[in-house]
Symmetry: C2
Subunit: 327 residues, 2 copies
């Protein structure tokens, strides 16, 4: 059953059926009713293309993330897909990679697709890329998960990760740590918030910032372990480790054990790695489920044409496991 069949059964041209689907005013009320009643009688479901043309919506939400093979983003995409499904929207997923220029291109592609809204997963999208995002946000709802931007048209569901890192430093300090190694990879918006929380935390504890304790690593477990072993062998001394990612906390644990050292370690994201590491990682949980749920709710409100808050902040929490217990 397609548009040709509907046209024939209604005794009109396919152009007229298209006009009905388009909601064109150039169709008489009588013809419109006839075509619609044939569609109903035949159980006709206009295909996505026709729906897009005719009813003004594809019921499709575009999701951008840099890399869905990252477990944190994978969990987010999984949660969002479920939430969108419950809202009767489909998900068009684009993985943008890490080049800002590509991000802009993908936003343009989503606009070409006439998606109803865009969800941006990851703090990387809080960084300036190009004009496409602003353009998109002027046309359709755009919601950023895990970041904040000044553009008033982009809705933000952010995490208080800066406060969480500040608090982690003070907890390590209370446990006796004075030289806290900080491990990170990128300084995206989220990366900068974490680093800022680390530095503010040191400052609040009266510990001067030592750049040699702030170490950038490759996001690859083997390479991270090698780098850390090199630093330890080179005489770098520290009495605690705070990490921007669970992966680095895993690497720190391996490097410490390899050197027969021991120190409290705190990771971030509370991922499957935190549970599977030996010893299991204490980790900052950014409450991804709440972030995604809040973002989906915001989107739903906006798609219904109602007012939503421009910014929501979700509290993180520290999940204690074997690598660090609160004193």
């Amino acid at each position: 059953m397609n548009i040709y069949d509907i046209a024939k059964a209604s005794g009109v041209s396919t152009a007229t059926v298209s006009r009905v689907l388009n909601g064109s005013e150039r169709v008489s009320e009588q013809t419109r009713r006839k075509v619609l009643s044939v569609m109903e009688a035949q159980g006709y479901r206009p295909n996505a293309f026709a729906r897009g043309l005719g009813l003004g919506t594809m019921r499709m939400v575009g999701i951008l993330c840099t890399d869905v093979s990252d477990p944190f983003y994978a969990s987010a995409v999984s949660l969002l897909e479920g939430a969108l499904r419950r809202m009767d929207y489909d998900m068009l997923l684009y993985c943008t990679g890490s080049e800002p220029a590509d991000r802009d291109r993908y936003v343009e592609l989503l606009l070409d697709r006439h998606v109803d809204a865009i969800l941006l997963v990851g703090s990387v999208f809080a960084d300036p890329s190009g004009p496409a995002l602003e353009k998109a946000a002027a046309q359709i709802p755009v919601v950023l998960i895990n970041g904040s931007v000044p553009d008033g048209n982009i809705y933000c569901v952010d995490s208080d990760v800066e406060a969480a890192f500040r608090s982690a430093v003070s907890r390590l300090f209370s446990a006796g740590a004075r030289r806290i190694l900080y491990l990170y990879d990128v300084l995206t918006y989220g990366g900068r918030m974490k680093l800022s929380g680390y530095r503010d935390g040191l400052s609040a504890c009266g510990i001067p910032y030592d750049p040699s304790l702030c170490v950038r690593l490759e996001r690859d477990p083997d390479s991270a372990v090698r780098s850390l072993r090199g630093l330890i062998a080179g005489g770098l001394s520290f009495d605690a480790v705070l990490c921007a990612e669970d992966l680095f906390a895993v690497a720190a644990g391996k490097a410490l054990r390899g050197a027969s050292l021991s120190a409290p370690v705190i990771g971030c994201n509370n991922s499957i790695l935190a549970v599977c590491a030996s010893p299991a990682l204490t980790s900052i949980d950014m409450m991804l489920e709440s972030l995604c749920e809040t973002a989906a709710n915001t989107l739903n409100i906006l798609l219904e044409g109602r007012q939503a808050p421009h910014r929501a902040v979700i509290s993180s929490r520290l999940v204690e496991r074997e690598t660090f217990r609160l004193p």
Copy 2:
């Protein structure tokens, strides 16, 4: 070459060509065959062409997986998204959950969306669900990754995981193991292949199958560790562990260490968990990248209207790390 040329060469109207493209049932089998043979003879590419004429192709491929938050599926989706993008197709992702009835519903939804093809990620889709998949495969290319089905219309890119598990058993046997514990969760198509490989491997080594060594676990690290600790405390004796998933190999490592025991352990999937576990896991690598690349190639060939092999089998390999080295 356009729709008018095809219509002229077939001796039918353009509307009839459209009906053939749309898979309408209101075309006689004879006419359908004639139009298709003209298309084939002329090297006509219906999708790209139909798109140009607005006949409804969305250049969109539907992907079904049970849960994209699973790292194995997340990697697959990430690889496929990139491959589809290079083919200039977008990806519509549905996470079906584990209910067979839901799988069928999602296939119907993809057909409603008039996707150009469907990719099924995971051996779970090799199990019978309902009539929707067969119906889909009669209309558009359907490619199953990591499994095989008898339906000749569904193209399969399978892994030789059964052989890999058989070989893992024989390698553990060569290293002296005689009581090999097998840990698994589900008996989907893939799960049955692995179990069958384990049992055939035992048989080939002359070891009788002992059901008490074949243990089903929850796919949750803490619960798996608890179950294994209980079994060890209850006196279950074994001298090697083979696991259907890296997650269970992690749990086995933790349970062994907790009981001050040691035994070779082999996981499966060669995931980030294998690298991050301590000790790092020896793991069966099902070569996900090759599976996805082959599936995308198959799809590309089919979308171009050419013939593709109905089944391809990708060889697994054993990646040796700390939990087991070949003797």
